[in-house]
Symmetry: C2
Subunit: 537 residues, 2 copies
């Protein structure tokens, strides 16, 4: 495989191997049906729901050859063994709802999507020590409902849209907005099916009768859990997830600043409060179009040609009570402690950002979710699907893709990212609907690009925008941590230190654990045979 | 290799391969000297300092064939290549100060210890975002001194004894006692030399000019960092470590309970305070002999035959102001917030443990380390070597070994562990000097066994005690997370789920990354060739 950037342009997928046939061979279909039952194997027109729902690739959109829906771990093991036998590439998804990044769409044409959504058991809930064990099919909506209906004292952490898989989101390094918002960091204990059907339990779970499967990450010897994040080294069938106890009090804070230039100050006042533990959540920082797109279509603010004018931004802020930059974060704990946290936050904000306004809404432990302001739900761990409508921002057939860059959590970096992203995005004719998820030690710079899936010109601009953003960011020392499948090689190419030593190392592990290369070839730029016959990535 | 428990008795090392010759072959010595310089290769009597300082194995004590002390990454790469060429097993250590667990001692006779203590640069300190990057030779003492002398605002987290390596401690899953006490959890970014000399930078560091090497753990694609904990898959030459800002106020709390039966209540009152984020450190829970051994020899309390009598325990508590169980933990942050945290702690303790006493000492940001009570230093991130004297508890030639079990952080589990450990330890004629490091979601049950290194009877009892404790614990669903090299196979055997699938999987990765098996064969029970010629572990 070449690593030149030319080879990873989004429309060139035909030169990557192994591709399966565009349609499932009859003997493969038969074998899968024997393994999981007729109704759990989809072929032909029935696979359409597993292609990228927001594809910007036109005719090059990757469509799976089939979909298999195993109902339990033994069926997953049978499927991987069959795939090896028949040399069919698999593309495992938990629920396949990663819509801004390809949905359930495989990287390689001819793949069979392994859709795990039928495996939807909440296997264990432990209120005393704060964890659950879930299968891949458990959505955030389902977990929250399970906890509520069983009277659990635990609070889930949920991402923007609650229909996705708790397990899948953690594996893709997704995040929520509570004190336990860094979902991959709060995973503990895994069960994984390897390509040869070996069933591995990690960490303490490697002891058959362990009392600490989901309590202590380490175990004895090397930790392999990290290998299965954004990975094609195995299919994860269970994880432990640490959840916080529902606190006595939650204060959701909205910090609003009037000027575009306030961004640096906003970041630099919040980061130290996070580092010292006063603020326990991340802070979601968004500009006015981001906030507006959560509740309205673009046309409500501006219907003329070209980019959103300044006047539209002012109109948004006037109507919504927002500012040019808006940060939402939360404080948790006993009521007295939340008050003390809030006093510290207020003092810091007043000293650093005298023009800013801080609005606070406090919720008690047993607040009815229906009484929570929609914008505050994520900070309370209440899942919803409201934000699906952000894809409809520009009209047409709603679609969106996102761009997520890792950067240091400093005001100076935020300004660099804002300028870099805004310039390129506006060059391509899109509004800059952007912001940051700010954590104590890193920020994710986000740009949300809504487009009309049925407009070829829109799609072509999206397809051109992503590689341009990667190039701009990379030159400045930044890189994305996730990507649409079409750009996975491009992003992996940016991780180039020591002749791509990390990618080559993961390739060697890939060849050791999946020598036939059937699991998700190409995912995150890791291809089978990369350490041997392909001569290194 | 057999996995029967008979094969892993501590004195049976001769049947494991590959062993090197007991003395370094002249051509190997010559090659190493050419790579690192004459003065950095030790052989013959000079290697004695790299054997287990507290060995209880008598004549079976493993002595290295040589020691090599590379001074930089290129020399480490040269050493691993030479080891492959000459098929000499290496045993890398950072500073080799893991004294209770074998010190610098290799697992396999004839190994060459790769002592990295000369690589002692603090590569980077970033006060703004709270991290340092260190080489293996940086001790906790040196890091603290570096931060102080450069006026850094950061506070290190330090273990009980400060002479060890910051990097080595994190890799062995050691811990300290501040809000950043879980050292492996606060590692971010790694540089690793593989067996073939490949130099890998992990996570964001896999991008050559990344701005986020030590800031974001994830990167793009699978995370390999976990593979290098307690590992023989590579030699780690740099890590990023997250440090907390030195807080305005630190309140160190000592919670003392009068009765042996208070243990469950003590654990069950502290855990929820940790889960909700009120208490930010772990809690070190120790019984009276543990506390006494920190400041005095056993003979000061009891000089008769047999175990410490109850009267000695009462005398200790009366003299030291301690109780049967004593928990030390800390609160950090702005002074107002620490006060609010303390109020919550006080109320919880008063409600749950009316007989307990809570003593609090509060320190300001700029407290002189000399003014800090010795017992409070670890909670303030001030390293010392005071606790070395615990090894002298029983008199004779001081030595100790420790037993560390992972368990759920509940009162019921703590009581089970106490009873299990106490019974077996007392059966072997040792005092139960024990306790727990309690975290929000796990506890480590600790038993400290001091013995006379020059007393063969003492040594034989230690050698018998460990396997007996492992068997008792394992039957109850618990397992150690670390061990002396002599017991690594025994402990690995306890992680038996699905026909030891995790161990077999790590073995496959071992063979992929180190096919010649030169790196630390047998470490944590992972042997070269385990996936192929040895037919699986």
């Amino acid at each position: 495989m070449s690593t030149s950037t030319a080879a990873v342009a989004p429309l060139v997928l035909a030169d990557v191997l192994p591709d399966g046939p565009p349609r499932l061979a009859p003997e493969v279909e038969e074998a899968l049906v024997a393994a999981v039952g007729r109704e759990h194997v989809l072929v032909g027109a029935d696979v359409a729901g597993h292609a990228d729902p927001f594809s910007f690739l036109g005719e090059a959109t990757v469509v799976p050859a089939g979909v298999v829906l195993p109902g339990n771990v033994e069926e997953v093991r049978a499927v991987v063994r069959l795939a090896g036998e028949h040399r069919v590439p698999l593309w495992p998804v938990s629920r396949g709802r990663n819509y801004g990044y390809g949905g359930a769409s495989p990287r390689v044409p001819g793949s069979v999507v392994v859709d795990l959504h039928r495996m939807d058991a909440v296997v264990e809930v432990d209120d005393e020590t704060g964890y659950v064990v879930v299968e891949p099919g458990v959505s955030f909506l389902a977990l929250a409902e399970h906890l509520r209906s069983t009277g659990s004292s635990l609070m889930p952490s949920v991402p923007d849209i609650g229909w996705g898989s708790v397990l899948g989101n953690a594996l893709e390094r997704g995040f929520g907005y509570t004190s336990h918002g860094d979902h991959s960091a709060f995973q503990c204990g895994m069960e994984v099916v390897l390509a040869d059907g070996t069933l591995v339990r990690t960490g303490m779970g490697a002891k058959a009768d362990s009392t600490a499967f989901a309590l202590y990450k380490g175990g004895f010897g090397p930790s392999v859990d990290g290998l299965f994040f954004q990975s094609n080294l195995g299919i994860v069938t269970k994880i432990g997830v640490w959840l916080a106890p529902r606190p006595e009090s939650t204060a959701v804070c909205m910090l609003t600043t009037p000027h575009d230039d306030d961004l640096a100050g906003l970041v630099d006042v919040l980061r130290p409060l996070m580092l010292e533990g006063t603020i326990q959540s991340n802070a979601v920082i968004g500009n006015a179009p981001v906030v507006a797109s959560m509740v309205s279509p673009r046309a409500a603010w501006y219907d003329g040609p070209g980019l959103l004018p300044e006047s539209a931004l002012f109109a948004m802020n006037a109507a919504m009570g927002t500012g040019r930059w808006n940060a939402r974060f939360a404080l948790y704990g006993p009521a007295s402690l939340v008050e003390a946290r809030l006093d510290v936050v207020r003092a810091a904000v007043e000293a650093a950002l005298p023009d800013a306004s801080l609005r606070v809404t406090t919720y008690g432990r047993d607040v009815d979710p229906a009484e929570v302001h929609p914008a505050d739900r994520a900070q309370l761990g209440i899942p919803s699907t409201d934000l699906i409508q952000m894809a409809a921002w520009r009209g047409g057939t709603p679609a969106h893709t996102d761009f997520s860059l890792v950067c240091p959590p400093t005001g100076a970096d935020a300004v660099r990212q804002r300028d870099l992203l805004r310039a390129r995005i506006q060059d391509e004719g899109f509004d800059y609907a952007g912001g940051f998820t700010l954590n104590a030690r890193h920020a994710i710079a986000l740009a949300l690009v809504a487009f009309d899936r049925d407009d070829p010109a829109d799609c072509a601009r999206v397809a051109a925008l992503f590689p341009a953003l990667v190039a701009d960011a990379s030159a400045a020392g930044y890189a994305p941590y996730r990507s649409h499948p079409a750009f996975m090689d491009l992003v992996a190419d940016q991780y180039d230190a020591n002749d791509s030593a990390l990618r080559r190392t993961v390739g060697r592990i890939k060849d050791a654990l999946d020598p036939l290369g059937v699991l998700a070839p190409g995912k995150q730029g890791i291809w089978p045979g990369s350490a041997s016959s392909r001569g290194g990535v």
